[in-house]
Structure formats: structure tokens, C-alpha cells
């Protein structure tokens, strides 16, 4: 059984790695776009197989209940994004924003980014986790700058500088965790394996762990986009190609948060170390309220949804910071729902920006008249992200709010306040997008609607009916998280 599981993990990591090398060599963009889709689908299938057969954990790799669902989510959104990307880049070639040479580079980077994110998720060694997050950052930096316009370069530069500083702080924290472990476990690879760290954490030096966690929180927190470390995020989302915005919001932020949660579990295993909860609750609330207010003043549509991602990462961090079975359950569900919804929104926004020829909110009007299908897809996405029932985000937000009312009623007040502010901003903008005088420049759309509606259908189904097996699964993981 376990040897089959090894094949599964090898496929999840190997397929993107090999495809990345292949794609860099294929000149025809039509072929490479299809190969990209195929590779993403194979990785998704391999990830699904991990539900049934899992490899034995070793010092480098680990598949457990917690990360297997994130691997599946990661490869699934990677797959749907590759489908969207295929229709998106055709249009970008037509209007000359990208050239075939750059597309080769783009596809190669897409797969190396998928590889790095999958590696980060299945890494057991905290050193390997760090390397994977770094590689994912570097490949996305290159993608953000791919249009080579003034704005894209500035965004990529900013993302690179802030991302590197964050990742450097995270490495310092990782070294400190190793030091704490090395006194107890002994030298070598064993003292970096997360499974060993959690098992022996109660004997670690608490003071060293405390300092380490601060560095890790600042370091990986930068990648999560928590305020006040979020400055790179809106620029990177707005200026890169839209498939990359979808992957950044839907996946990369999750991966960084996942890394943080692994370290939180180590902290929780040591009774004398500081409790990470209050720190995470504070940063989550600051991000939520800050981003909610920032939503009102946005003039660029992708930038607005980038702030919405900061808002939702704030909610998720808040939920995990609260801890306990119910809040963790809500956090896990919200992570999934946000990934699906936000990437669906970016798919829709990508096509909207293409047909309208602009990303300016003021110039995107009357979508229901000119492009009804696209307009309503965007509408459903925005309603979902704003937290309207019966969609999935309503469920998870409701759980976050009710669990905080039950445990810490005072914290629920700013939480609900932030949610209400964000809701208002999104509704205000949505009205403008859908109705009113259609803006003059309206090209025909040749969008692929399958990824958008696929995601939204999943979000709707999750909002109405969560399969009991999935509920049991989430409950189990929530207990693991403590």
C-alpha cells in the first residue's frame, strides 16, 4: 500500500517538474497550453489518489490528513486555472501584450510554481518547506513582471524585495526552531522533520521557540499578505496576468498560511511557550478591517479583489488564531471556499478586462447588457465573496462569527463590523459593473466559462449541502490543529 502512495507523491511532484522542463522547449503555444492542462490534470489525479493510499512519512516528505486536502485543492485550482489560462493567453497574443517567446517562459514558470507549491505542502522537513516557498515566490515574481510595462516591473520589484525579506525572516525563524530541537533530538535531518518536532516539542526551550515564532509569523505572514506586511499583494495581483492573480490569491496565500499553521502546531505542543493564538487573532482582525476600508477607494478591478483577498486571509487567520474544533473547522472551510470563489472571480474578471479593454472600475459598466453570461458569472462570484447565503462563504463566515460569539464575544464585534464594511463596498461596486450605460468599448468575448461556473457550482453545493464524509474529515483535521 505505502509503495503505491510513494508513486502518488512522486507523481504530484514529478509531473509538474518534468512538464516545466518540457514546456520550456516547446515553441508552439497551442501545444504547450494543452500540455499545461494535461499535466495539471495528471497532478490532480495523482493528488486524488493520495486520499486512498498514502506513503509512509519520512524525514523529508509527509502526507497526513491536514495537507492531503490542501494538495487536492491546490492541484484542482491549478487545473482549472490552466484551462482558463489557455483561453486567456489566446486573447493576449492577439492584442500583442504577450509574444510566443514569453509564453514559453510563462508555461514553464506555471509548472515550476505548481511544483514548488505542491512540494511546500507535502514537505516534512521545515528546511524543505522553506526552500519550496522560496522557489514558489521566485517563479511568481517572474510571472508578475511578464508584461514588462512600467507598472508590472514596479509590482514585480516590490513583490520581490518584500517577499525576499519575508522569506529571509522565515529562514531565521526556521534556524531557531532547529536549534531548539537540536538540543533535545540531536543533530541532523531528524531535528528538522516536523513529525519529530511536534512529538518532542514539550521538551524544547520555550524562550527560543517564542523568538522563532515571531520571526516565522512575520516571515510567512508577509507571504500570507497580513496587514501591515501586505504592501506587495495588491500590486502583484493587479499587474500580472490574470491566471497568476487567480493562483496567487487562491493558492499561494494558502500555502504560506499552511506553513504558519504547521509552526503553530509545534508551539501548541509546548505548554510553556507563548500561545500563538492572540497574535494571529490581532493580525487577522487588523487585516480584515484595514482591507475592508481599502475596498472603497479602489479604481482598479483586480486591485479591489486583491484587497478582498487580504480581508479573507485576515478572517482565516483570525479563525485559526481562535483555535478549538469549531473555529478551526470554520477556518479550513473558509480556506477552501475562498480559494474556489476568488479564483472564479479572477477568471471572470480576466475576461471582463479583456472584452472591455481596461481594468478601471469606472469604465466597466452595463455588463448585463453587453455580456450577460460573463456579467452574471461575476455577479454570482461577488455575491459569494461578500458572504451572501446560500453560497459556501456565507456558511464558513457564519461559523467563524458564531464560534467567536460563543468563545470571545468582544472579538466578534470588530469581526462583524469588518465583514459589514466589506459587504457594503462590494455591493456598491457590483451595481456599477452590472447595470447602467454600457461602456462604449465592448469586444466580443470568446471566454471559456467552464472553470468559472465549475468553481461557483462547487461553492453553491458546499453552501447547501456538505457531504457528511467531508464534514467528518474537516472535524478530524480541526482536532489535529488543536
Amino acid at each position: 500500500m505505502s509503495s503505491l502512495g510513494n508513486y502518488g507523491v512522486a507523481a504530484v511532484l514529478g509531473v509538474p517538474a518534468v512538464t516545466a522542463a518540457l514546456l520550456a522547449m516547446i515553441p508552439s503555444y497551442v501545444v504547450s497550453a494543452r500540455l499545461n492542462i494535461l499535466a495539471c490534470f495528471l497532478a490532480f489525479a495523482a493528488a486524488l489518489s493520495l486520499f486512498w493510499v498514502r506513503p509512509e512519512p519520512n524525514n523529508l516528505l509527509l502526507v497526513d490528513d491536514f495537507n492531503v486536502y490542501l494538495v487536492v485543492l491546490n492541484t484542482f485550482v491549478g487545473f482549472t486555472t490552466s484551462v482558463f489560462s489557455a483561453s486567456y493567453i489566446g486573447h493576449e497574443l492577439e492584442n500583442g501584450r504577450l509574444t510566443p517567446v514569453y509564453l514559453r517562459f510563462y508555461h514553464g514558470m506555471y509548472q515550476s510554481m505548481m511544483f514548488a507549491m505542491n512540494l511546500a505542502l507535502v514537505a516534512n522537513s521545515i528546511g524543505l518547506l522553506w526552500v519550496a516557498v522560496e522557489v514558489a515566490t521566485l517563479s511568481t515574481v517572474l510571472m508578475v513582471g511578464i508584461y514588462r510595462t512600467h507598472e508590472a516591473l514596479e509590482a514585480a520589484w516590490k513583490y520581490f524585495i518584500l517577499g525576499s525579506v519575508g522569506i529571509a525572516l522565515a529562514l531565521f525563524g526556521t534556524i531557531l526552531v532547529y536549534l531548539a530541537a537540536q538540543e533535545v533530538i540531536g543533530e541532523g535531518v531528524e531535528a528538522m522533520a516536523w513529525t519529530n518536532l511536534v512529538a518532542r516539542a514539550r521538551d524544547f526551550d520555550p524562550a527560543l521557540l517564542n523568538v522563532a515564532f515571531i520571526f516565522l509569523l512575520l516571515g510567512y505572514g508577509t507571504k500570507v499578505g497580513l496587514a501591515p506586511l501586505h504592501a506587495w499583494l495588491p500590486d502583484a495581483h493587479a499587474e500580472g496576468p490574470t491566471p497568476i492573480s487567480a493562483v496567487l490569491s487562491g493558492l499561494l496565500l494558502n500555502v504560506a498560511l499552511y506553513a504558519l499553521l504547521r509552526f503553530k502546531m509545534i508551539m501548541a505542543a509546548n505548554a510553556r511557550a507563548l500561545t500563538p493564538g492572540p497574535l494571529m487573532v490581532t493580525m487577522g482582525l487588523i487585516s480584515l478591517i484595514f482591507a475592508a476600508f481599502m475596498l472603497y477607494r479602489r479604481r482598479d478591478i483586480k486591485r479591489m479583489f486583491a484587497y478582498s483577498s487580504i480581508e479573507h486571509m485576515g478572517i482565516i487567520t483570525f479563525a485559526f488564531g481562535m483555535g478549538g474544533p469549531l473555529a478551526n473547522f470554520a477556518g479550513l472551510l473558509h480556506m477552501t471556499m475562498h480559494s474556489l470563489t476568488k479564483s472564479a472571480i479572477f477568471f471572470a474578471v480576466g475576461h471582463v478586462a479583456q472584452v472591455k479593454g481596461t481594468q478601471k472600475i469606472a469604465d466597466i459598466r452595463g455588463l448585463t447588457e453587453t455580456h450577460p453570461v460573463l456579467g452574471w458569472a461575476l455577479a454570482i462570484g461577488v455575491l459569494a465573496i461578500a458572504g451572501m447565503p446560500p453560497l459556501g462563504i456565507f456558511m464558513s463566515e457564519f461559523l467563524v462569527v458564531s464560534s467567536s460569539f460563543a468563545r470571545q464575544p468582544l472579538l466578534a464585534v470588530p469581526l462583524v463590523f469588518g465583514l459589514a464594511i466589506a459587504f457594503g463596498a462590494l455591493m456598491l461596486r457590483l451595481h456599477g459593473f452590472l447595470f447602467g450605460e454600457p461602456s462604449p468599448s465592448s469586444a466580443a468575448s470568446h471566454a471559456s466559462y467552464a472553470p468559472v461556473f465549475g468553481h461557483l457550482a462547487l461553492v453553491l453545493i458546499a453552501g447547501i449541502y456538505l457531504p457528511p464524509a467531508l464534514v467528518a474529515w474537516f472535524q478530524n483535521v480541526a482536532r489535529l490543529l488543536g
Binding site: 526552500v131 520589484w157 529562514l171 531565521f172 535531518v189
Partner: protein, 220 residues
């Protein structure tokens, strides 16, 4: 583990902090590149000494990587970029050098007060090394925020990575995976920076990061 070996380790790690301060007050591009090369040389010596003291031969490889890449190849390459872009006189500080130095002293004091009490149970080697390493990291950060020029920020970032390598070698028996990755990531970082620098030159005729700040999507 004699007294002498501790003193030498201490001296070399302290030397890195001193060179970090030198980096802070350079006002010419070439001076800064030379100071960075010196930083990398001291790092290589320090890592080699750790390899000798800890009896860990794989650390010699880390020392060699630090020496070859960071003390020779990268400064030479940056030197050529600076010549080609004709920017060797442009080192602009956001704040005055005096203020920067004072802030640097404050950061060093901070890292010592943070690290020494925390690492009480570790041996003296590790304690001192970590305190110095954190100072180098923080001074690298300080350099990145007080310089506007893109090349100076690259150097600030690499001196920060040097501090991380110092910390990683100070931690006994840290697996090689991480050390290689650190060296490797610096290389990748350098390539990326190189690409960016050329693109920036091509597009705006300046590598002053301040000039890049003129645009925000929301203001247009």
C-alpha cells in the same frame, strides 16, 4: 573547544558586523561593492573556522561557495553592470549617514538583548554567533530601506543572506540541504535581480527605485 578557537570564531563573526557597518556608510558604488566582497570573505573565513571547530567537513563546501560566488563572481558581475549602466556615482541615501549609523547601533544592541537571554541553554559558540548573525540580518534590512538605488538594495539583500548563512553554520549539525539552498537561493536571487536591473534600465533609464514609485494604479 579551547579558549582560542572561541575567540577566533567570535572575532570573525564580530568582523562581519563591523563590515556591515562599513556597508552602511559607503557613498560610492564601487566602494560598496568592495565592502560587500570583504563581507563575503569574512563570512567564508568564519564558516571555514566553524567547519574546523565543529569537525564538520561539509561546512567547508559552504565556505567555498560563499567565497567563490559572493566574494568573486557576484561583485565582479555587479561591477560590470554598474559600469555598463554608468551609475557608479549614484548612491542616494534616504536619510543621513549619521542617523543610519545610530539606527544600526540600536539594531545591534537590540539583537544582542534579544538573542543572549533566549539562548541561555546553548553553548557560548552558538549564543554569540546567533546574536551577531541577527545583527547582520537587521543591518542588511536597514541598508535595504535606507538606499534608493536598486543595486544598493541588491547588496543589502545579499549581506542579509550572509547573516543567515552565519546563523545556519552556527547551529550545529544543521542539515546540508539548507546550506546549499541558501547559497543556491542567493544565486537565483542574483540572476533575477540581474534580469530586473536590465529591464529597468531598458525601460526607464534609471535604476533609482524612487523613480519607480511614481506610479500607483489607484492614482491614475
Amino acid at each position: 573547544m579551547g579558549h582560542l578557537s572561541f575567540d577566533i570564531a567570535h572575532l570573525l563573526a564580530g568582523g562581519m558586523v563591523a563590515v556591515s557597518f562599513m556597508l552602511l556608510y559607503q557613498d560610492r558604488m564601487f566602494g560598496m561593492l568592495n565592502a560587500f566582497a570583504l563581507h563575503a570573505v569574512v563570512l567564508a573565513l568564519s564558516v571555514a573556522w566553524q567547519a574546523y571547530v565543529q569537525g564538520a567537513p561539509h561546512l567547508y563546501a559552504t565556505a567555498a561557495i560563499a567565497f567563490v560566488f559572493k566574494a568573486i563572481i557576484i561583485p565582479t558581475a555587479l561591477h560590470r553592470i554598474v559600469m555598463r549602466l554608468n551609475i557608479h556615482r549614484e548612491v542616494e541615501n534616504v536619510v543621513g549617514i549619521g542617523v543610519t549609523m545610530l539606527a544600526g547601533i540600536g539594531l545591534t544592541a537590540l539583537s544582542i538583548t534579544v538573542m543572549l537571554p533566549v539562548t541561555g541553554s546553548a553553548d557560548a559558540f552558538v549564543r554569540e554567533d546567533l546574536a551577531f548573525a541577527l545583527s547582520v540580518v537587521l543591518l542588511g534590512l536597514l541598508m535595504m530601506i535606507t538606499r534608493r538605488n536598486a543595486v544598493s538594495q541588491v547588496i543589502g539583500f545579499m549581506s542579509l543572506e550572509n547573516g543567515l548563512v552565519l546563523a545556519a553554520t552556527g547551529a550545529r549539525g544543521m542539515p546540508l540541504v539548507v546550506e546549499i539552498s541558501v547559497a543556491f537561493s542567493v544565486l537565483i536571487a542574483f540572476i533575477v535581480f540581474g534580469i530586473f536591473l536590465f529591464r529597468i534600465r531598458e525601460r526607464f533609464d534609471t535604476v533609482d527605485v524612487h523613480a519607480l514609485d511614481s506610479f500607483r494604479g489607484d492614482r491614475s
